[in-house]
C-alpha cells in the first residue's frame, strides 16, 4: 500500500473505485444473467425478450431439472469421481512428496528427475488415450480418477511446504522409537493440515470441472458427469438429453430456462463452498508462489 495515509478520498480514488466496481460488475454480469433467467416463472418468460431481473420469480426450472434422471445421474457420477478422486489425490501426492523430501533416499534424484520431466513434456492426447484403452478403463469413472492421481506441480509445492517443517520434530519422534511411517502419519500429516486443506480444494475443483477427459473416456451417457451434461444440453442444443429422460413434472418449462438452471446447478457446489473457503484457495496459491 502506498505509504502516505490520507483521510480524504481524492478524485483519483473515486476513479479507482469506479473502475473496480465496473470490472466487478463485468465479472458478475454473466452470473446474474444466467441466474435471473433460470429463476423466472415460466409464464413470465419471453423467448425473444431479455431482462436482467425476472418479472416473476419461480423455481420451476430447477424443480424440473432436479427431477430428470439424466441430471441426477450426472450429479451422482460427478460426486463419486470428485470424492474418490480427491481423497486419492491427497494420499498419493502427499506420500510421494514426503518421500522426496528425504535427501538421503537412494534413487531420490532419479525420481525427482522423472517428476520434473513430466512437468515439461507429456506424451500427448492420443498416447494417453491409447494407454487408458489398453488398461481397459474406457467408459469407466476410474479412467478419470487414475489418470490424474497426482501431478508434478502439486508435488513440488507440497514438497517445499513439507521442507519447512522443523526436522527436530521428526528426530525427536525417531529417538522415541518411531519408524518412518509413524513419523509420517503421526507428525507430518497433522502438521500439514493447512496444505492438505488447500490441496483438497484444488483437486476437488479440478475433478468437478473436468471436461475433456470425461468427454474422451466416458462413452456411455449413463456415465456422464455434470460438465458433459451441461455441454450436451447447452452447447449442442440437445434437448433430448434432459427432456426425454423421464421427468416427473409434465409442465412445460422453456428450453432456455432448463439450460440456465442446469448451468447454475453445475456451479452450485463451488459457489456455495467458495465464500467460506476462499482464503484457503488464496493461501494455496501463495504456497506455490513463494518463488515469484
Amino acid at each position: 500500500m502506498s505509504f502516505v495515509y490520507r483521510k480524504k478520498m481524492t478524485i483519483g480514488d473515486w476513479i479507482n473505485y469506479t473502475l473496480l466496481v465496473l470490472f466487478s460488475g463485468l465479472c458478475l454480469f454473466p452470473f446474474l444473467y444466467v441466474a435471473s433467467v433460470s429463476f423466472t416463472d415460466p409464464d413470465a418468460y419471453k423467448p425473444f425478450g431479455f431482462y436482467l431481473i425476472p418479472e416473476k420469480w419461480s423455481l420451476a426450472a430447477y424443480k424440473y431439472v432436479l427431477s430428470t434422471n439424466s441430471f441426477l445421474n450426472a450429479l451422482r457420477n460427478t460426486v463419486f469421481i470428485t470424492a474418490v478422486g480427491t481423497v486419492l489425490n491427497i494420499i498419493v501426492s502427499f506420500t510421494i512428496s514426503y518421500a522426496l523430501t528425504k535427501k538421503t533416499l537412494p534413487g531420490r534424484n532419479a525420481v525427482m528427475g522423472l517428476v520434473i520431466f513430466t512437468l515439461v513434456f507429456n506424451a500427448g492426447i492420443i498416447p494417453n488415450y491409447l494407454l487408458v484403452k489398453n488398461l481397459g478403463l474406457i467408459n469407466s469413472h476410474w479412467a478419470l480418477i487414475l489418470s490424474t492421481l497426482t501431478n508434478a506441480w502439486s508435488i513440488l509445492v507440497i514438497k517445499s511446504f513439507l521442507e519447512t517443517l522443523p526436522p527436530e520434530l521428526e528426530e525427536a519422534a525417531k529417538i522415541d522409537g518411531s519408524n518412518d511411517l509413524g513419523v509420517f502419519f503421526r507428525i507430518v500429516v497433522p502438521l500439514s493440515m493447512p496444505s492438505i486443506a488447500a490441496f483438497t480444494l484444488f483437486f476437488a475443483v479440478a475433478h468437478w470441472n473436468t471436461y475433456f477427459n470425461a468427454l474422451v473416456y466416458l462413452t456411455d451417457s449413463k456415465k456422464w458427469t455434470l460438465q458433459l451434461l451441461v455441454k450436451s444440453l447447452v452447447i449442442d442444443s440437445d434437448s433430448n438429453g434432459v427432456g426425454a429422460a423421464g421427468a416427473s413434472d409434465e409442465a412445460v418449462v422453456p428450453q432456455e430456462m432448463i439450460r440456465m438452471a442446469t448451468i447454475v446447478l453445475s456451479m452450485l457446489p463451488i459457489l456455495v463452498v467458495y465464500p467460506f473457503l476462499q482464503k484457503y484457495f488464496v493461501k494455496g496459491v501463495m504456497l506455490g508462489s513463494v518463488k515469484g
Partner: protein, 320 residues
Amino acid sequence: MTPLAQAAANIRTDRGRSRGKSLLTRMIQHKYIYLLLLPGLLYFLIFRIAPMWGLLLAFKDYNPYAGFFKSEWVGTEHFRDLFESRTFLLMLRNTLAINILGLIFCFPLPIILALMLNEVRHEVFKRINQSIVYLPHFLSWVVVASMTFFILSSDVGIINKVLQSLGYDTIPFMSNPNYFWAIVTAQNIWKESGWGTIIFLAAIAGVDPQRYEAAVIDGASRFRQIWHVTLPAIRPTIIILLILRLGEMVDVGFEQILLIMNPLVMSTAEVFDTYAYVRGILQGQVSAGVAVGMFKGVVGFVLITLANRVVKRLGHEGIY
C-alpha cells in the same frame, strides 16, 4: 545434548543414515519411505512414462486391425505431410495470434488490477471486490462457454436480443471466424484476470515502505509513487512471469477452444491440440494425431526449458 546422546540420535536419524553404509543397507533403512514413494511412482511410470511408447506411432501408419507391432513403419512421412500442409501454417498462425493477443491484453490486466486494488483503503470494499473477481477462475470451461453462448449467440444471446429489439441486424459472433480470437481473449480476461492479481498483490505488499517514504519526501504524488517505486519493485516478478508465460506458448487453452469451436470458424480456431483430437481420436487418423501431438510436445518442451533457463540466469528461481 551430551556428545554421546548426540551420536546416538544421529545414528537413528536421517543425518546419520548415510554415513558409511552400503547401498543395500541404506535402501532397507528407508524401506518405509519407499512404501510412501510407491503409489506416486507407480502413477508416473504407468500413466506418464508408459504412454510414451505411443509416440512411436507417429512414425508408423497405425492400422487398428494390425495393432501396434504390425503397423507399417513410415518414418517421418506424417511429419512431412504435416509441415507441408496448409493446416500447419494455419495452426501456427492461430496459436501465435491467440498468444500475442493474450500477452497484450490478458497479461497486463492483473498487474493493473493489483495496483488498483492496492490503492483501496476500505478493507471491506477491497475484500468484496477480490472475492468477486476471483470467482470466475473456479468455473469450468463448459460453464464459461455456456455463458459465452448466452451472451453472443445469434439465436439466444443477450447482445443479439438487444440489437434485434433496437431494430439492428444480429451479429454472428460465434460463426464468424474474425471474432474468434477476440472471444477467446475476452474469455481469458474474464476468467483469469482477477485470480492473476494474487501473485502481484503479494509482490506489491513486499515492497519496502522506506522507498515510499523517500518518494513522498521528494514530493511524489500517489501516481508517481506507483510509477517510480511500486512498478520497479515488482519488475522482477513481472519479468519472471512473462518469461514463464512465453515458455507456455504452445498451450492455447485446448478445452476452451474445443468448446466454442465449430466448422465455420476452423480457419481461425484450429490449433495443434484440436487437430490432434479431431483427426486422431474422432476421425481415427491415429498416427497423424500422434505426430501433431509430438510436435507440440517437443516444441513446448524446448520453450519451457529455455524459459526456465533464462529465468535462472536472471538470478531467480525457475519452476524447476
